[in-house]
């Protein structure tokens, strides 16, 4: 009996602990299996061991080289928009770059945090990409270097939009630079606007969406006129970023007290109003259904920004040229409120092996007007350089057949000037996720607003021990 008990206890211990054993450290070890010296894709063996669903790292470049310069990003953005163009001008330097695509933003922070802690790791990142949702986490730490250490002066930054500099500034030090500015707009279907609003001209359509209440009325009108076929948005969370961008306070203040400010409470109300009036198709942002609605007549508009236009809307429009899918049937108007959405910053890490190269890449990608013109022409990304934008807009580069000929550069340009940086904190990504869950519960009628806010606070305080709720 005793032996059996012991055996049982040990078996329980073994199985229980097998999960605890894998959680704490996921520092990738150097994968030595790769023998080819050419640019090859290599799978990272160490990160795959923890949980099955963590995507494998995709590595471009030669990681075995002595002077390998590691750049980390959660997707191929930096590769396609920056390094590709850097390569053309500085082929010798570009050879040293080892680009690691961690595959999806969900696990990006987890992966690089472990690496940043250990500068002796052969795969230690020399440069990291940081997204708006968590840039503060890295800039407000000793893990990133001020750009002045890399030889980038204020004069170099003169053409940037001020908000992109503010976003990466901590204690007066700029610690990251971005090659893109990301003003947002409302993107709607021309044919549907013609049908239900009588016009597809952006200036006239804007009248129907000039403020939140008018937008709601217009949504109801479209729904009624289309016999319920066409909804204003795909999901209620499409308007989230607009509200979020106008926050005055971060999720928590200097005393680490968690607050939900009126802007976000208003968002909850508006989301509920959209849901109750049946103005959405009930999708969640980034889900397959949400993306599929881009080519369907059931969705009138999306709230999107510069990169959204190309990589989300165009990519999902179901066509490559005018006439295919909904390609060419879109137009932009400012919508109820100006806002910005996302953006990617580059930062050099504290243990960066070659500050000169880091400075060179950042200077080329974020300060060099000629280079940025090339980036804009090549990828149609809205670059963070006023001079380049003005020149390109004059050249007519912005006339975009996807938008029925509308000049997107000219359109975004005044919007970009207007962007004011909202308050942020390093935990934005996860806290906003938790807020979305509770908003959904409220919107779907599973709980009332006060309970939702209370549950949100309880959950966030539970996750972050240094925060308190009022």
């Amino acid at each position: 009996m005793k032996k059996k008990m012991l055996a049982l206890a040990l078996a329980t211990a073994m199985t229980t602990i097998s999960l605890a054993g894998c959680g704490t450290s996921s520092t990738p070890t150097d994968a030595t299996t790769n023998k080819s010296t050419d640019a090859t894709t290599e799978t990272d063996t160490a990160t795959a061991e923890t949980e099955e669903e963590i995507p494998e790292n995709e590595i471009i470049g030669n990681p075995d080289a002595e002077d390998a310069f590691y750049v980390y990003c959660w997707n191929a953005d930096v590769m396609n928009n920056v390094i590709k163009y850097f390569q053309e001008v500085y082929p010798e330097d570009a050879k040293r770059i080892v680009y690691v695509n961690t595959g999806g933003s969900d696990y990006y922070q987890t992966k690089i945090d472990a690496l940043l802690e250990d500068p002796t790791n052969p795969q230690y990142p020399d440069m990291i990409a940081m997204e708006m949702d968590y840039i503060m986490k890295y800039t407000d730490s000793d893990y990133t270097l001020p750009v002045s250490d890399l030889g980038i002066t204020e004069a170099d930054m003169k053409n940037m939009y001020q908000y992109t500099i503010d976003a990466a500034t901590v204690d007066g030090k700029v610690k990251g630079l971005s090659w893109q500015a990301t003003p947002g707009a409302m993107m709607y279907r021309r044919s549907l606007a013609e049908k239900y609003l009588g016009t597809s001209d952006p200036d006239k359509v804007q009248e129907f969406f000039k403020d939140w209440d008018t937008m709601l009325e217009t949504g109801k009108k479209i729904l009624a006129d289309s016999n319920g076929e066409t909804k204003l948005f795909s999901g209620v969370d499409d308007v989230k970023r607009v509200y979020q961008a106008s926050r005055e306070n971060a999720w928590y203040d200097a005393n680490s007290v968690l607050t939900v400010e009126d802007t976000m409470l208003n968002y909850m109300d508006y989301a509920k109003a959209l849901q109750d009036a049946g103005l959405t198709n009930g999708t969640a942002q980034w889900s397959d259904e949400w993306a599929a609605n881009v080519k369907s007549d059931n969705t009138f508009a999306y709230m999107g920004c510069t990169w959204f236009l190309h990589w989300t809307l165009k990519a999902n429009s179901g066509g490559e040229k005018v006439g295919e899918g909904t390609y060419g049937d879109w137009a932009m108007t400012a919508g109820p409120q100006s806002y910005y959405w996302g953006g990617t910053w580059l930062g050099a890490t504290a243990g960066c092996s070659d500050k000169e190269l880091a400075g060179k890449i950042m200077k080329a990608a974020t300060c060099d007007t000629e280079m940025m013109k090339k980036i804009c022409k090549g990828s149609l990304d809205y670059v963070n350089n006023k001079e380049a934008i003005a020149a390109l807009s004059a050249e007519g580069v912005g006339n975009y057949d996807f938008l029925g000929g509308q000049d997107f550069l000219g359109y975004f340009s005044p919007l970009a000037e207007k962007i004011e940086l909202p308050a942020m904190c390093g935990e934005d990504f996860y806290i906003t996720n938790a807020f979305d869950d509770q908003t959904n519960a409220y919107v779907n009628g599973n709980k009332d607003k006060d309970t939702a806010v209370k549950d949100f606070k309880a959950y966030v305080v539970d996750l972050y021990p240094y925060l308190t709720a009022e």
């Binding site: 009996m1 059996k4 008990m5 049982l8 206890a9 329980t12 211990a13 073994m14 199985t15 229980t16 602990i17 097998s18 999960l19 605890a20 054993g21 959680g23 704490t24 099955e52 669903e53 933003s105 969900d106 987890t110 945090d113 940043l116 986490k137 890295y138 407000d140 730490s141 000793d142 049946g278 198709n281 009930g282 999708t283 980034w286 889900s287 397959d288 259904e289 599929a292 390093g426 935990e427 990504f429 996860y430 996720n433 938790a434 979305d436 869950d437 509770q438 959904n440 519960a441 779907n444 599973n446 709980k447 549950d455 309880a458 959950y459 539970d462 996750l463 972050y464 021990p465 240094y466």
Partner: protein, 334 residues
């Protein structure tokens, strides 16, 4: 060779001792691996649960020894309403896990028992048994991750199953499984059930085949019907196997991770909607990797360990003890 033959001449007792020593060498690798990869993390996790150890942003705080505070916090919330026992996210996650496991296990063991008794019934002699068994075992071969993704797309808002049910009028036109708690939990439980009933059935068949056939013959000679045979011979003699299935399933079920973590989750890895499909292991993962509160994660792991231990011991005593007692009694009688 000469050595061994000499030693063997020294006496029989000595010889057995020598072989025993080699035995220890053979089992040593297991214990070494166990000590490094399982025992040490186990001890370390428990040690962590006594620490205040978290990161604020990228700044690490701790580890400072704070005694039982983490573990107490895992059991009790102290808010405006005073201290409430079990009203913590640790226990909410644990509750979700146990609920989803029960939803999966009860129908699973019933169906598996039924199928196992049909397949082993010598009077029915089911044809094409192999084909049936393979078909039923098949879901177990598919990776849990793929199943979770597959079911998610089947039952998402525009998924084929959702559309089918809408067309049949079974659910209202704007229904979404993924925004309701119970349907999400039922779907996760169903995936588990569908994955594992074949496996449980095979184990039970093995158990039933291990029962002495003469018992069945004797009962049939005595005129027992199938029902009586099942309840009075198969079930009582199958108890050790049932106990095994129950305990392994409970331990596996409490660590439910892969399916719920890929099924209906947000970008931060929380089970949707509103925490309902977050299992205890997902919660521990979130604490370790996202918020980096190792102390709290350690405490949650200790709670999981304790609950697993209690549940296993409970099953062990309820189902196992009686048999032991009966045996002891019968021995006394002899």
């Amino acid at each position: 060779m000469a050595d061994i033959s000499q030693k063997s001449n020294m006496g029989k007792k000595r010889k057995t001792v020598e072989y025993g020593r080699y035995g220890y060498l053979f089992i040593a690798p297991f214990f070494i691996v166990y000590a490094i990869f399982q025992l040490w993390p186990l001890v370390y996790t428990i040690w962590m649960s006594f620490m205040e150890y978290y990161s604020k942003g990228l700044k690490e705080i701790g580890p400072n020894f704070i005694g039982f505070k983490n573990i107490v916090n895992a059991f009790i919330t102290t808010g405006k309403e005073g201290a409430v026992l079990f009203d913590t996210f640790t226990f909410k996650a644990l509750g979700n896990t146990i609920f989803m496991w029960m939803l999966n296990f009860v129908p699973q063991i019933l169906l598996s028992l039924l199928l196992a008794s049909w397949f082993t019934d010598t009077r029915v002699k089911l044809k094409g048994q192999g084909a049936f068994k393979v078909t039923m075992f098949m879901p177990n071969i598919i990776t849990a991750a793929s199943l979770a993704v597959l079911f998610y797309s089947l039952f998402s808002i525009n998924g084929p199953m959702t559309q089918l049910l809408k067309n049949m009028g079974a659910i209202p036109g704007n229904y979404d499984f993924m925004v309701h708690k119970l349907p999400t939990q039922i779907l996760i439980a169903f995936i588990q059930f569908w994955m594992w009933y074949g496996n449980t059935m095979i184990v039970l068949i093995a158990g039933i085949l291990g029962i002495n056939p003469s018992l069945y013959e004797a009962s049939r000679v005595d005129g027992a019907n199938s029902k009586q045979i099942f309840y009075h011979i198969t079930l009582p003699l199958l108890k050790p196997i049932t106990l095994f299935v129950l305990v392994t399933s409970a331990i596996g079920g409490l660590q439910m991770y892969d399916i719920p973590s890929l099924f209906n989750v947000n970008q931060g890895g929380d089970g949707l909607p509103d925490f309902a499909s977050t299992t205890i292991t997902m919660y521990i993962r979130k604490l370790t990797l996202t918020s980096k509160d190792f102390g709290k994660a350690g405490a949650a792991s200790v709670v999981l360990f304790l609950v697993t231990l209690i549940i296993s011991l409970f099953f062990f005593f309820v189902l196992g003890e009686k048999e032991d007692r009966r045996q002891r009694k019968s021995r006394k009688g002899v």
